[in-house]
Amino acid sequence: MGRRAESRPVERVVALAAYVSERAGSPPTRAEIVTDVPGYPEGDEANRKALRRDLSDLAEHFGIETDCDPAEDRYRLRRPFLTSDERRVLIAAATIAQVQGLGEPDPDDIGGGVDEYGRFIFITVPHRTLALFEAIRARIPVTFVYHGRTRTFHAYALGEMTSHWYVTGLEQESGGQRQFRIDRIESDVSPAGAPGSYEVPGDFDAPEAIRGVDPFRWGPDPKVTARVLLGADHVQGFVGEYGGTVVDHIDGDAVVEVEVAHYDAFRWRLLSFGTHARVLSPPALVDHVRSHLTSIVRT
């Protein structure tokens, strides 16, 4: 080819990737590579070093890793992480959806080069999410202030629930599993230990823990099944936001049953539906709502 002396690093490294890829069915030896790919120097030691450097560049700068079987002296590309179809749909997703709160993507990230003008999905993540994400990945204890108290926390998982982001894990002060709404954290999230300081328990169920941020499920009160009478126009709003099941209908209204373990939270939610929602049973919950309303009238 007569171009050996003119070859430049990018050209050689890219050609190396193309060549080893093209030879997937018959992995090449080093001797074949340095002969067929332009730009390698003469001499065994020199081209060995150059190839090693190029393979390192390929991995570090392009994310393309190779394996070499020392016995055979043959080079193979590792399996791609994503297929081209998978990457294509992720690019399409990044074209329409912008994630705000995680910082700007690098230009060579998947989705980092898309045009931003056609976006119509905007996902906002609280700005402390990234620090908690990194803490979970590295298993680093963190501290932060929440409801005026400093907490030391072993974060296990992050999650989004009813349009809010939560972190769940083990609070060291109480020794119990806790969930915190991230946008209500009142301080920076600071490291409070070394990486690898804790393990996430093997039986930890992240989806269940995030769903459990709903105070209907983890509250301090004896768990009961509430029966709520809802106007027909409000059933979807109630069930969509707070869960529950329609079990009956009365004169066009619906009876919804929902588990409740936090009576104050239940009352707060029930009253947001005004006269379109009434708790029918159990008596403890009916009394809870009635006595609250009575106390206001008496003031």
Binding site: I136, H147, G274
Partner: protein
Amino acid sequence: MRFDKIRQFEVLNAVLAAAEERGTVSLAEFAERFDVDLDALHRVVADAVLCEFKTSTGDVIGFTRSFLLTEDEHLVLDESHWLRDLVSVPPEPEAALRLLLAGSAASALAPAAVPPLDSALEKLRSALSAEVVVTDARPEWLPLVEHARRAHKRLRFRYVKDGHTEASDREIEPHIVFSKWGHWYVGGRPVGAETTPSFRIDRIISAEVSDEEFEPVDTPTIPEWFDLSAAEHSVRLRLPRGELTSLPRPHRLGEISELPDGLVEVEVVITGDRRLDHLLVILGPECEVLGPPKAIDRRRAYTEELLALY
């Protein structure tokens, strides 16, 4: 700035990625963005897209089919970004998280399962080294609303407006479906109106697609924010400081005055009659509505109305 090997790889990756994701890019744009000489950038890109090697039979193979480098210094994706096809390492965790969230949100709009998206999201999850739970927050009527928008057909629906408790019937030309502030919306022109309000899709109680077609608009806009100032109410409260976290959202707090007994006084601005009523009845007897007088009266009257249910 020195255009050394590492920098060449960095800029090349960015240019090739943008070409794949946009279809075409101007080298001049990237030369300026990365502060490198255009000729040098051209040379590096040409080296990559015109690279060649020999086969075992001695034939010279050029990898020129994936990108085109035009005479006016644009890089155009012709077939595929073959270098990216070979990437074996997962995206960096932050990028993987961003893609996971974008992909999960986009999947809500798909009328049917998209297997490559599902498998890509599964791979991203495995690469995070952290559990991130993203709930499927697709409102029940989103697929139908999106169908109406794509078909350019009017949409009839029953709707509970923000801050209200009564439902009403609407008919709109759905111009755009979008997701913002954690909710899905449809923006469009109500029949007979000139404005294009937005409706939260999870507040739609029932919906159907009309046979009436409409002329789509070229550039439907997504609102920066909703101006709800006309529906704002202002109430002055005296309450325990801890109660501030239980006020209905969204709201704005004025200056908080600390009182000696652990109470605070504050002006609260809240939007909509429904949210005001909610605010007035969730406050316990230890909370006092100081004004305006009509809010004090409203609290009593509304509480008595609710109490009558029991």
